[in-house]
Symmetry: C2
Subunit: 125 residues, 2 copies
């Protein structure tokens, strides 16, 4: 998915359509516009790579936690830790001008994968 | 959600239950186990903070792309860019020993938020 593309589909005039207000028509991208688009996309790609590697590291940590708990039969749920994680992440998101609800959804999304990993560990042990 | 906790719930004996093989019983966490758990959780928290700030930066880029395209009425869809992004991310995930399918799901998850942002831009412009 090219991130920015999806929504522009909505409400954008079909190629060749007349524009409301004498603005440049569809597909009219000067070289500097194209350059900025490429620059932004390169940053998006860099960030995506960083996030992928960050999450790989995070899964290494959570898998180790899973093994530790399995080995020592530690109590599974830790509601205090859980609420601290959510509250902290929502706070960080606000500082970063990110929607706190999005940050919480993201945490849940990642945790769903962690659970999948832990189930594999459980099956293998 | 405390990442590691969810799955340990599954199949873990109830507190106080006898263990199969003379292993330490439930809740038996030596100080060094507790220390390692804390260390791992601190790393998880650091990584989560990094990811939140990375994504905040990413959204800055995609919002700029959205505005650029709106201003210049650039063609919305870019299937070539899209397939490059997916292929690249899956490759990066494999290098990072992350499930490529997870990386692709994550991209879709983030893009859903990008779309939400772009819809806001579209409403405001």
């Amino acid at each position: 998915m090219s991130d920015s593309d999806r929504t522009d589909q909505r409400g954008a005039p079909p190629p060749g359509a007349a524009t409301r207000s004498g603005e440049p028509g569809p597909g009219d991208r000067g070289p500097e516009v194209q350059d900025e688009l490429e620059r932004l996309r390169a940053s998006i790609d860099n960030i995506d790579a960083a996030v992928v590697y960050m999450l790989a590291e995070r899964f290494k940590c959570t898998q180790r936690v899973g093994r530790l708990k399995a080995e020592h039969q530690l109590p599974p749920a830790d509601p205090a830790r859980e609420s601290r994680q959510i509250a902290r992440l929502r706070e960080l998101a606000t500082e970063a001008r990110l929607d706190p609800a999005f940050a919480e959804k993201l945490l849940n999304f990642v945790i769903a994968e962690v659970i999948r990993h832990h189930e594999t560990i459980a099956r293998e042990s």
